[in-house]
């Protein structure tokens, strides 16, 4: 491939590129645009929940008139629509495609020493299907009755019946179409990642010499292939129920003054199918973030990641367990209580590999020589939110305790910290760290610091107090809490949280500025700015098809030989890092 250079046009270079580096940038920018929409939505509904039915000009500005009950006040079903689309966009479009799509595409060929993905064509198709599904999702925001509003979990019958909520009409149809395409692109992408990692590793790159990033992305792809098709089938059956009168999920419904012609179906079946993807999805979102941070923490601590094999073991354990815990979302769904016991058992087991990971990160910092680049700050932030959010999982995963906190704000706080904020931190860490590889320039450090600290303060400011309003019994997805005097004393807390959310939202502008300006104005990057060991830093700064101008590099060691010393306590090669391409020195033990 490197031998011949065919002439490239704008279309083949920027639009329908088969080059994994360009495709990764396409994923990233599309994901970021979706992210802006998703975050903006969250700010709008945070305003409503903190100051119920107050008029805000920002709500007036961004919502069409028919979505407002009076100028600047959103309607109750639009509140639910915003919550729904916020969840959908953040989970799937930003943290699945935006995170995994970007970094799988960028890093897999570069870190395993391959010229490109196994199939550049499938890779291109995968991005464009993601693009189409994004466009359809955005279009669904503009339909007359409003977008899907049954929650991102789209439980039927609410999601099946336009009589139940206006968003379950055209809005829901578009949601389903968009997600079906999304799932297809995810499958195509994942298969490509798996095949590439298994088959295209360079000479010497054994599975136990792969960077942890690769392990994480590899296992993520496998989970995706195993679980996404199940959501596809759920979506398909729901489409049948909605459009062709089948009764997979619907039964005995009386709505709008009439009995509907459905019998024998069960919404609980849908819940099973949904969460069979829905729970692994948490790890599809989280594992890539953890993989990126493993690499970043090690590099910036100038130390090997602690317990490399234990980390691989944890990733695989988490992946395996993640597929047999979905029922913990359904403890109070009416499912057989014995089944609940089984799911409690498997769910709490996940805490063990997660704890191992957290302890290993902390031990990696111990006696390191920490370089606080922005990527490192976000990585440490990730470990912190991962612990805070993960611990409350022990409450929610315990069926007995879940009874009273299920579907309260306690859950919202839990998953936003453990998968939302953590994964976003991982994504930011990855962007700051690999920006030089994507654009050949460096991002601004000071703006990175400002971005991190405001975000970190805002994130805990929003989500830490949120646990407590959940413990006060406040259900999620309420348009306003004012109908329950019981919750009147939570209003202040809600307002403080919203203020933090607005600050946090504004801080993301700092990131956007830094990102887009650095593409053009950033300092030109050197080949290996972070003095890292992995293969991507052996490629030239300018992008070329095929990644390496000459031969593909050969690998002689694992990726974490940082600060390795000989018997005399001197660095073996005079530097505190040894790239994977450097052969072992005579007498050197392989780590």
């Amino acid at each position: 491939m490197s031998a011949h250079h065919h002439k490239e046009t704008f279309v083949t270079k920027y639009l329908f590129s088969f080059d994994h580096k360009m495709i990764s940038k396409q994923f990233l920018v599309t994901g970021m645009i979706m992210g802006v929409i998703g975050v903006l939505m969250s700010l709008l509904f945070r305003l409503q929940i903190a100051w119920p039915e107050h008029s805000f000009s920002i709500i007036e500005a961004f919502l069409p008139e028919r979505f407002q009950s009076e100028a600047g006040v959103m309607k109750p079903d639009i509140y639910l629509a915003l919550v729904t689309i916020h969840g959908t966009i953040m989970v799937f479009f930003v943290l699945t495609a935006g995170l995994s799509g970007t970094f799988s595409n960028l890093l897999i060929p570069l870190q395993i020493g391959a010229r490109d993905m196994a199939s550049g064509f499938m890779n291109c198709i995968s991005y464009w299907m993601f693009f189409i599904s994004s466009v359809i999702m955005v279009i669904s925001l503009f339909v007359q009755a409003g977008p899907a509003s049954a929650g991102w979990t789209i439980y039927p019958p609410l999601s099946a019946l336009p009589q139940a909520i206006p968003g379950s009409g055209t809005g829901m149809t578009l949601w389903l179409v968009s997600m079906a395409i999304f799932i297809a692109q995810s499958l195509i992408g994942s298969l490509n990642y798996i095949v590439t990692i298994l088959n295209l590793r360079t000479k010497g790159m054994t599975m136990t010499r792969l960077p942890l990033t690769m392990w994480a992305l590899f296992v993520t792809a496998i989970i995706g292939v195993v679980s996404f098709p199940v959501l596809f089938s759920a979506a398909l059956l729901l489409i049948f129920d909605r459009s062709f009168g089948t009764s997979f999920f619907l039964s005995d419904i009386f709505i709008g003054g009439e009995v509907l012609n459905y019998q024998g179906g069960s919404p609980v079946l849908f819940e099973h199918l949904f969460w069979f993807l829905g729970h692994p999805e948490v790890y599809i979102v989280l594992l890539p973030a953890l993989g990126l941070t493993s690499e970043i923490i090690s590099t910036n601590s100038r130390k090997p990641i602690f317990g490399y094999r234990a980390m691989i073991g944890s990733i695989m354990a988490i992946a395996f367990l993640s597929t047999i815990v979905w029922g913990h979302h359904m403890f109070v769904s009416g499912m057989n209580p014995f089944l609940g016991s089984v799911f409690t058992f498997t769910t709490l087991l996940i805490a063990i590999p997660s704890a191992v990971k957290a302890f290993n990160y902390i031990t990696t910092l111990w006696k390191g020589n920490l370089q606080f680049n922005p990527a490192m700050l976000f990585s440490i932030g990730l470990v912190s939110t991962f612990i805070t959010g993960g611990l409350t999982g022990i409450v929610l995963g315990d069926s007995a305790l879940d009874i009273n906190v299920h579907d309260t704000y306690f859950v919202v706080a839990h998953f936003h910290l453990v998968m939302g904020v953590s994964a976003i931190y991982g994504m930011y860490a990855g962007i700051y760290h690999w920006f030089p590889k994507m654009y050949g320039r460096m991002m601004n450090k000071t703006l990175g610091y400002v971005h991190f600290w405001i975000t970190a303060i805002a994130a805990y400011g929003v989500f830490f107090p949120m646990h407590f309003i959940g413990l006060a019994g406040l259900p999620r997805r309420y348009y306003t809490n004012t109908n329950f005097p019981l919750f009147d004393d939570l209003a202040n807390v809600n307002q403080v949280m919203t203020v933090f959310a607005l600050i946090g939202g504004a801080a993301q502008i700092v990131f956007l500025v830094n990102f887009f300006m650095s593409i053009y104005k950033g300092k030109v990057a050197t080949q290996n700015p972070w003095r890292s060991n992995t293969l991507e830093w052996t490629t030239p700064v300018e992008h070329i098809h095929g990644n390496w101008p000459g031969e593909i590099p050969e690998v002689h060691r694992w990726p974490y030989d940082y600060s390795k010393v000989d018997e005399n306590g001197e660095y073996i090669f005079g530097e505190d890092y040894i790239m994977q391409t450097v052969p072992l020195k005579a007498g050197e033990q392989e780590s």
Partner: protein, 352 residues
């Protein structure tokens, strides 16, 4: 057009940030030349990689952040304590509260320790030029420790949790009062089983006129059933709830009793508990008094009527536009009062 305005504000903010940042990257340097004159030069200090000074500052920030985070946690634990739910008002809820306390103490300890280690290490080992990091890649002993300890702790939590779960979900055996709770957009209804303590069958296809719950009147158990719009429960007696839904998923959430179960169209779900305090007794509980005081403080500030404590049944599963206002009052009273009230209600046969 207003949207455009906000967009421009954001763009202006963005440009502002970039420009300020650019200015800050220049350092003014005064150079002395002969005759005591000085020339001013600007040096661009834009190093994109963390320097020793950056490491020092950021490391200290992590320590400050840790202190701030501890303060936030402390504040929430102390000052937000009153707003949380009072102690359980059901017998089964006592076990729930015990498990809850144990779990929160455990995760609290882990949280305080691990966050301290994380941020302290970030501060302590902030990079210094020339210092060698310790090459420490593996320790089977350490890994064994932090695999075993969580395993043991979790095993205890799992066993205790499952024993409570089994108790709570076991509704067989004892003589319980049978109540059907019926959910629909956006209100609740209920039905007592009557003299025979058996609920007559129900199906949405029987909904007609006053029979809003679709009770099947051809079922002989249905005649003495008592449909109501307000839930009264006798104190100290086990109540078993059967839940049905008319249209979409709902969730019957009774937080004070530590009780919740989804209402699923097309199927009957169940849950049960034994009320421990009457509504009056509950109003006298210390933490309820505190909670009500904190609610009323907020209500007085808004010029609203003071609030008096009542048990509630809320909907806790997204069910449509008015999901946020779907509630039913629950009154717990002495068995005598309860029977008096029940006898005043009309049976299904009398109603339809």
């Amino acid at each position: 057009m207003l949207a455009l305005f906000y967009f421009f504000v954001a763009v202006a903010f963005a440009i502002g940030i970039w420009q300020v940042n650019r200015l800050l990257t220049y350092r003014v340097i005064f150079k002395e030349i002969k005759d005591g004159n000085k020339i001013i030069t600007f040096q661009n200090d834009n190093n994109p990689i963390a320097t020793e000074k950056d490491n020092d500052i950021q490391g200290k920030f992590f320590m400050i952040f840790l202190v701030g985070f501890y303060l936030l946690m402390g504040y929430c634990l102390i000052f937000l304590h009153d707003i949380m739910l009072p102690d359980a008002a059901s017998i089964e809820g006592e076990n729930y509260d015990n498990l809850y306390t144990i779990t929160f103490v455990l995760i609290g300890i882990v949280q305080f320790l691990t966050q301290a280690l994380l941020y302290f290490f970030a501060y302590k080992y902030r990079g210094i030029k020339g210092r060698k990091a310790t090459f420490f890649a593996d320790s089977h002993k350490l890994e064994l420790i932090w695999t075993t300890i969580p395993t043991v702790v979790l095993a205890v939590l799992i066993l205790y949790g499952l024993s409570i779960w089994n108790d709570v979900t076991d509704l067989e055996g004892d003589e319980a009062i049978l109540v059907e709770v019926y959910a629909k957009q956006f209100s609740w209804e209920a039905r007592y089983a009557g003299r025979d303590n058996e609920l007559g069958r129900g199906n949405v296809r029987n909904i007609e006129g006053a029979n809003t719950m679709g009770i099947d009147m051809t079922d002989e158990n249905a005649a003495d059933d008592i449909p109501v719009r307000e839930l009264h429960l006798p104190v100290g007696k086990k109540v078993v709830f059967k839940f049905r839904s008319q249209d979409v998923l709902h969730s019957a959430y009774m937080p004070h009793f530590r009780a919740q179960m989804n209402c699923v169209p097309g199927m009957v779900t169940e849950f049960g508990f034994t009320p421990k305090y009457t509504t009056e007794e509950m109003r006298q509980q210390e933490d309820v008094i505190l909670k009500v005081a904190s609610v009323n403080e907020a209500r007085v500030a808004n010029g609203e009527e003071p609030y008096e404590f009542d048990y509630l049944l809320l909907c806790n599963k997204i069910c449509g536009p008015s999901h946020y206002n779907m509630q039913m009052k629950i009154i717990v009273e002495s068995e005598k009062d309860y029977l008096t009230w029940l006898n005043q209600q009309k049976t299904a046969k009398e109603l339809f």
